[in-house]
């Protein structure tokens, strides 16, 4: 037996695959990336025998081996390529017993690929409650594989599964004797001759799906097309016929092994029926959805601030401690102001991201999310989006990176692309501190709307709505511009409602947060360091001259005031200050000066550095705990040299907020757009259109309010 066998979990969506994965591996799992795609892959360890761990790979749910969406493609790219590093030694196909026939279709395809396969029969209790009794011993005999009955959610039957897996691994048995389809042997031989020896089913899969398989070059794909032509191979026709033939075979098997107890005509009023009456209701459906969104926002923006503040203060205290206890060298500065500040900038987002994934994974685990897609599809379609775009748009409120990754389930390329393009317009959590600071500056705190609503709160809510409506508007424009005649479809299962298992929800939160911290974290930290270098060094000896200049001009100053004056003068003469002055003419019409220019430049890498840059620019020392209040005081005290009035008035404040709401200022998002669309064209368009939108809107707002 091979050391550490690779086992893949395969199954229909909602068959309980992820539950089984969590039950098998518990906390012994880690996320990784599939080579070439950003799809998070989950690998866990499962103890098979003494001292022998199998690595378990959790694959996205699929209905057949013929992919219809990007997450399905990921699975096929592994299964079609025996050379793939993730190609399994054994597949556990998880099947929902209450819907056996459809689940067995995928099973029969995987088995015919020649992968040793074990069938894990899940949700037997659900089947039995519907009066369906399955003879799994007979089923094993008919299908010629090991069958294990499991309850994935409760973790029952895992020993039986382990036994089946061990048996199958030892024998290496696979039972693909004859394929239920007609094909020309000559054609298959030609495929094998050109692309390497394999079994017939792999050869046919390559021939049919070569355009979706990363293992083939463009030249090879052209060759495949020629073979298809030569033998008059019609992929669609062949796959339809194969599917029918498989169902015909399975029908017989299922009829033999499945006993249906007579239940009353309609199993009236199951929980799912009752809940759907409310959740899909023309009024209550939307009302409840809005209510859930409201609670989610509350959680992300109110409850999450407590742990965020704790992290923020902790980092600030750590920095203070290091600054006072380490020798005051450049290296210390780099460590504290560059590296640790950068890491802190990532860590403060953890509570928000965790709350977001808490909600999203609960909504998905319970089956509610597909109801939201169902009631939103018609509305979203008017704007060139899709019912499935709702999830990315909601996730975009926390962070566009995981949001864009979640578009993979959207089957239509056009809908998916538009969703990717507009998702960054949703106000993400990085914009929140910017809105907070600017609203506090320009919107009077005491005012209320109709005497009830706090005007600052209203302004904040308006910024979020603005982002959402701009996303819809942009999607609508793109729908008109893009002339792709592609049929989008919306054929999906509405799973029955299930109560979420808390440990599984926690695992999802843990994995997603980890992925965010390490993916986005790397970039944010790198940018913080670059920013620190740019702000700390200047061309030639300009930095030293700045210091001398301050000292000669203000001989009376001393202590903290002197340091502040010097660092401010230094900043003006640093590379960052130089760049700020360079773009000043371009941003003048929006009401910005070179100082804001520096913040804009640094924000193009990641907008979360705005507040930090502002506090650097307005030269603040010490007291990092009150950073926000002090940066606000400084900004409030700033005088516009042209008018002699406060710099941060209504016009500038809103102009800046609008700019930050629309501008594409996030390298991580551009990077993920690139990886998801596999082309630089789309991140470029995204960058240009969003920045243009930001510039024009900010210009209009400033000129109107001025």
């Amino acid at each position: 037996m091979k050391k550490s066998p690779k086992i893949a979990l395969i199954g229909n969506p909602n068959a309980g695959k992820s539950s089984l994965f969590n039950s098998l591996t518990g906390l012994r799992q880690k996320t990784g990336n599939f080579p070439g795609v950003t799809m998070d892959k989950l690998i866990g360890k499962w103890k098979l025998e003494k001292g022998d761990d199998a690595s378990i790979l959790d694959l996205p749910g699929i209905y057949s081996i013929y992919p219809k969406s990007v997450d399905e493609q990921v699975v096929i790219n592994i299964l079609a390529n025996p050379e793939h590093p993730d190609y399994p030694d054994l597949a556990i196909v998880v099947a929902d017993a209450s819907n056996l026939k459809r689940n067995l279709l995928l099973f029969s395809q995987v088995r015919d690929l020649g992968i040793p396969t074990v069938l894990a029969l899940n949700m037997i209790d659900v089947a039995e409650s519907q009066g369906i009794v399955i003879n799994s011993v007979k089923l094993a005999r008919e299908l010629n594989v090991e069958v294990a009955e499991v309850n994935a959610k409760k973790g029952i039957g895992l020993n039986g599964l382990r036994l089946s897996v061990n048996k199958t691994l030892e024998s290496g048995f696979n039972s693909n004797d004859s394929l239920p389809m007609d094909y020309s042997v000559e054609m298959v031989e030609e495929v094998k001759e050109k692309y390497g020896d394999t079994d017939d089913y792999h050869a046919l899969l390559w021939l049919s799906e070569h355009d979706n398989l990363a293992q083939f070059t463009v030249q090879q794909r052209v060759e495949f097309d020629k073979i298809q032509e030569k033998y008059h191979w019609n992929t669609q026709h062949a796959q339809s016929k194969e599917t029918m033939a498989r169902y015909a075979q399975l029908n017989e098997i299922v009829d033999n092994c499945l006993h249906e107890m007579p239940v009353e005509e309609e199993p009236v009023n199951t929980w799912t029926d009752r809940l759907d009456k409310i959740f899909l209701h023309r009024f209550w459906g939307y009302f409840i959805f809005l209510g859930i969104l409201f609670i989610m926002f509350q959680a992300i923006f109110t409850w999450a601030t407590y742990p965020s503040d704790l992290i923020d203060n902790g980092i600030a205290n750590l920095n203070d401690y290091l600054k006072t206890n380490l020798p005051p060298t450049k290296l210390t500065d780099l460590l504290t102001d560059g590296l640790i500040a950068g890491i802190g900038g990532v860590l403060v987002f953890i509570p928000q991201i965790a709350f977001l994934f808490l909600f999203i994974s609960m909504l998905e685990e319970t089956g509610y999310m597909s109801r939201v897609m169902f009631i939103m599809d018609k509305l979203m379609r008017r704007f060139g989006l899709n019912g499935k775009s709702v999830v990315p748009l909601i996730s975009g409120v926390a962070c566009a990176v995981p949001a864009i990754m979640s578009t993979r389930s959207i089957g239509s390329w056009k809908d998916r692309l538009i969703t990717i393009m507009v998702t960054p317009l949703m106000s993400c959590s990085a914009r929140l501190p910017i809105y907070t600071v600017l609203i506090a500056l320009v919107v009077p705190e005491k005012s209320t709307l109709f005497g009830v609503f706090n005007l600052q709160g209203v302004a904040l809510f308006a910024m979020y709505l603005l982002g959402f409506f701009m996303a819809l508007l942009s999607a609508w424009v793109m729908k008109i511009i893009m002339k792709v005649k592609e049929k989008s479809y919306f054929i999906m299962e509405l799973p029955s409602y299930k109560s979420p298992k808390f440990s599984h929800v926690l695992l999802t939160i843990l994995n997603s947060t980890k992925a965010f911290v390490f993916e986005a974290g790397k970039i944010i930290v790198a940018i913080s360091i670059v920013l620190w270098v740019l702000a700390s060094y200047g061309p030639g000896d300009s930095m030293q001259r700045a210091e001398i200049q301050v000292k000669t001009q203000h001989p009376t100053l001393s202590g903290i005031e002197l340091t502040n004056k010097i660092s401010s003068q230094k900043l003006e003469n640093s590379y960052a200050g130089y760049f700020g002055k360079l773009i000043e003419p371009a941003i003048k019409p929006l009401g910005y000066d070179w100082k804001i220019g520096i913040a804009l430049i640094t924000s193009f890498a990641a907008r979360e550095v705005f507040v930090g840059t502002m506090s650097t620019i307005y030269s603040l020392g010490g007291e990092a705990n009150e950073e926000n209040s002090t940066v606000m005081k400084r900004m409030r005290a700033e005088i516009n040299p042209a008018t002699g009035k406060p710099m941060y008035d209504m016009a500038l404040g809103f102009s800046l907020m609008i700019f930050y709401a629309f501008a594409m200022q996030c390298m991580s998002t551009l990077a993920v757009t690139y990886r998801e669309t596999k082309s630089w064209k789309y991140p470029t368009i995204q960058f240009v259109y969003m920045t243009a939108l930001a510039y024009i809107s900010a210009f209009v707002v400033y000129q109107l309010l001025k």
Partner: protein, 72 residues
């Protein structure tokens, strides 16, 4: 010619054939086989999409997709 799109809530039909070959593979994979019974269970608030009960579970699709499935 009657299709799934013509069903009212609670009405049923037996799948006979498909109009759109491209869609038919997806529908077949989802368990919509000729000879299978379908029951209309939900119609979304704005009349589209719809959901049917087929092969023991609820499947949702848009109205124009439902209109490619001929029933008797």
């Amino acid at each position: 010619m009657k299709t799934i799109a013509d069903l009212k809530i609670g009405e049923r039909g037996i799948i006979v054939n498909f109009i759109d070959e491209g869609l038919s593979l997806k529908l077949l994979e989802m368990g919509c086989l000729p000879g299978t019974q379908v029951t209309m269970t939900h119609i979304a608030p704005f009349g589209d999409p719809i959901a049917v009960k087929v092969s023991g579970y609820i499947l949702s699709m848009r109205k124009d997709e439902a209109a490619t499935i001929i029933i008797a």
